[in-house]
């Protein structure tokens, strides 16, 4: 009996020793949350007038999407779609759902249902999609939790003759026909860095609160932000990136820890998700470090102030832009997720109707007009939108 315990304790000691040995090497790695893909930073603001390379001028890569096998011809006929976002229960995907419903109503011959796990979990998402392949639908709209892991189930959908269009978060290109790209990564990166520099100056220091280091969108934005910052604002100091899942209390705690760790050396925080940005703003507000602090008795001095710039939905940011903590946040970077969901439904309808096929360079998407094809099999929604105190109250999602 005692021998068993001894073995158990030894095992514990070995585990702890293992930690002690691995930790120093892990600490040397840079946990910046960026991916390793090639980057394509846009022109710096000063050089913008000198002539910007527009996407159309760049050479257009070949169509690299997949195609469904023996899809029934339903041109002009009613179709049933299922929408599987990363998760349900956050304002962002509630907005894409709203856009999809608007498009369905306008078109009149499309039915869309949104169904997804309540946590951003790839295994659960695959199970949901699998379920709808078995039930049989005409098309699947998705926002992937993991670009690689979701590919097999989407390929199976294509093989079953189901049309597949992604939005918000891509899969491997061959696993879907088209992907509606809400904004090119370098466009968002430029808007984020430019907005931050406007507040903290070209020699400030900032940290990042992201969801996880492997979330494709966030990793891509961070990589492009690094590239753009290196090119245009080499004096900016990049402190670190912390993970906070998609959990607002954890995001708040992580942002608070950053504020405590760097003290006056921290000038700004980027929120990389619609959850992290308001939570970071809350952390700054509760620490009394808003640049313009409306809370009596909690006003931070301008030198200590921490700016917050990030991706978020307008409703979540109103308290910090125009509400109780007005002025705490000056710029919120995003596209319009209602338009994103709306465009995804129009793209799928156009594919079913045979009006949008591989090789086309644009597609008509209702009130959004003509959308350009980029990167082979992606449809670009447009440049990012910056919500400020002047315009944010005009949005409600």
């Amino acid at each position: 009996m005692n021998r068993k315990l001894l073995v158990g304790l030894l095992l514990g000691v070995v585990l702890v020793l293992g930690f002690a040995l691995v930790m120093p090497t892990a600490a040397q790695d840079r946990w910046d949350g960026a991916d390793d893909l090639p980057v394509n930073p846009l022109e710096c603001p000063a050089a913008e007038g000198a002539g910007e390379a527009s996407p159309a001028e760049m050479s257009m890569p070949e169509y690299d999407g997949g195609q469904p096998t023996d899809a029934p011809d339903l041109a002009g006929q009613p179709i049933v779609l299922v929408d599987v976002p990363k998760l349900v229960g956050i304002g962002y995907f509630a907005a894409t759902t709203l856009g999809q419903q608007q498009a369905a109503e306008e078109l009149g011959n499309v039915t869309v249902t949104t169904d997804a796990p309540t946590e951003a979990n790839i295994d659960d998402q695959i199970a949901v999609i699998d379920n709808y392949i078995t039930q049989g639908v005409n098309g699947i709209l998705f926002a992937a939790n993991d670009p690689v892991a979701i590919a097999p189930v989407l390929t199976r959908a294509l093989e079953s003759g189901i049309h597949v269009v992604g939005y918000d978060a891509n899969s491997e290109p061959a696993a879907r026909e088209w992907f509606v790209n809400q904004a090119e990564f370098n466009g968002i990166a430029k808007a984020m860095i430019d907005s931050m520099v406007a507040e903290i100056g070209a020699d400030g220091s900032f940290a990042i609160v992201t969801s996880t280091f492997t979330t494709p969108n966030q990793a891509r934005w961070i990589a492009e932000m690094q590239a753009y910052q290196g090119k245009c604002y080499p004096e900016l100091t990049w402190l670190e990136t912390v993970e906070a899942q998609e959990d607002n209390v954890l995001s708040f705690n992580q942002a608070t820890t950053l504020i405590n760790k760097y003290g006056p050396d921290l000038d700004g925080i980027f929120g990389m998700t619609s959850v992290a940005t308001p939570a970071a703003a809350d952390a700054v507000a509760q620490a009394g470090l808003c640049a313009v602090d409306a809370v009596a008795g909690a006003a931070g001095s301008a030198e200590d102030a921490v700016a917050v710039v990030g991706l978020a939905t307008p409703n979540a940011m109103k308290p910090y832009v125009t509400g109780d903590f007005a002025g705490c946040v000056k710029s919120v970077v995003l596209w319009n997720p209602i338009d994103l969901g709306y465009a995804a439904v129009y793209v799928l309808r156009a594919v079913v109707d045979g009006e949008f096929a591989p090789g086309d360079t644009s597609v008509m998407a209702g009130r959004l007009g003509e959308l350009q094809v980029v990167n082979g099999s992606e449809v670009l929604l447009g440049p990012p939108f910056i919500y400020t105190a002047e315009n944010i109250d005009g949005f409600d999602f």
Partner: protein, 348 residues
């Protein structure tokens, strides 16, 4: 029932006969003391690497960060000590927090938005307790079912819309006690979650150690048959622990909801695991009959301190999960070791 009925009077920490030294040793080896020492070592180590870690502000944030988890762990500890489990608690907190916010934005008085979730939590606890105690359905099955009902129901009803525009006097968790001086020390403003955590934990610990009902929880979890023979109503005790668990879940939900200016209207991912982990790492035996709420609180604080430390010493947050895993394994091993020593000493 007399106070000398043997299983009922068994205190949480096995008081064994023996000299002063052996008693002092067994006190030193209690989970509470070990956790406290680990916490001190962690704070000293990280604090010497980065002094800002031990600055007053970060210290308060560490205590504050997991306070709602520690409050929920009070009820959870009782449930586990009675040899039951509640895996629906994360979902329940999500639902009760959303309920609280919904009441607040619909113009009802603020006290109602704080009180109704606690009452609702007690009702849900009573339902679980009834199913477990009287219909004899295992707690894990009951709460697994409830988890799905609450999670699905919340999304269906709210449609995932966040709650914003909360009234400015709603934020209970952001309120602070006034600063005061104590024995020449300047005690800073203490955020209400920390105050609630400490007061509720100590009250619960005293109640569990000295009241008849509190001791009966240990008896039911430690040896249900002996407890029954000594006249304890197992059914009543199980009802009681689940109702208390519902109440502490309600308080935790109010703290969770009033911490930030937005309520996410979702079930916080993995919250039930954090609460159960706090209880287990705090020395509450998953086999029932052993543990204290003080241990669970210390464990919740330790987890918060580790999370903060990982940021301060630049280690990937992925390590957090690994560290927590090691903590759970070490605790369960220590629990086994202690049980065997006790058994050996009872024999000897």
């Amino acid at each position: 029932m007399t106070a000398t009925a043997s299983p009922v009077t068994r205190p949480p920490v096995q008081a064994r006969s023996g000299g002063f030294l052996s008693r002092a040793l067994s006190f030193l080896f209690t989970q509470e003391v070990i956790l406290f020492l680990v916490l001190v070592v962690l704070i000293v180590l990280v604090g010497s690497a980065n002094p800002r870690y031990v600055a007053e502000r970060n210290f308060i944030n560490i205590l504050n960060g997991n306070a709602y988890i520690a409050v929920a762990a009070i009820g959870m500890s009782m449930v586990i000590i009675s040899r039951n489990i509640d895996i629906s608690i994360g979902s329940l907190i999500g639902v009760l927090g959303t309920l609280s916010g919904t009441i607040a934005i619909n113009g009802y008085p603020i006290w109602a938005s704080w009180l109704v979730p606690i009452v609702a939590g007690a009702l849900v606890g009573a339902v679980i307790g009834f199913l477990v105690a009287y219909l004899r359905i295992p707690a894990i099955v009951v709460t697994l079912g409830l988890l799905s009902i609450l999670k699905g129901g919340l999304i269906t009803i709210t449609g995932g819309a966040w709650i914003t525009d909360l009234p400015s006097d709603y934020f209970l968790a952001q309120m602070k006690s006034p600063a005061f001086s104590f024995l020449g020390l300047n005690v800073p403003e203490i955020p209400s979650p920390i105050l609630l955590m400490i007061i509720l934990t100590i009250l619960a610990a005293i109640w569990m150690r000295y009241s008849t009902t509190g001791r009966a929880i240990y008896a039911v979890g430690g040896n249900a048959e002996a407890a029954r023979l000594s006249g304890i109503s197992e059914k009543r005790i199980i009802m009681t622990v689940f109702i208390i668990n519902g109440i502490t879940a309600g308080i935790a939900a109010v703290l969770w909801a009033t911490q930030l200016s937005i309520i996410q209207s979702t079930v916080p991912a993995g919250l039930e695991l954090q609460i159960i982990t706090s209880a287990v790492v705090g020395g509450v035996s998953i086999l029932g009959g052993i543990g204290t709420t003080v241990g669970a609180m210390l464990a919740a604080i330790l987890l918060s301190a580790i999370n903060s430390a990982l940021v301060f010493i630049n280690i990937s947050p992925y390590w957090f999960r690994a560290v927590v895993g090691v903590l759970i394994l070490v605790t369960v091993l220590a629990d086994r070791l202690r049980r065997q020593r006790n058994r050996a000493s009872e024999r000897g």
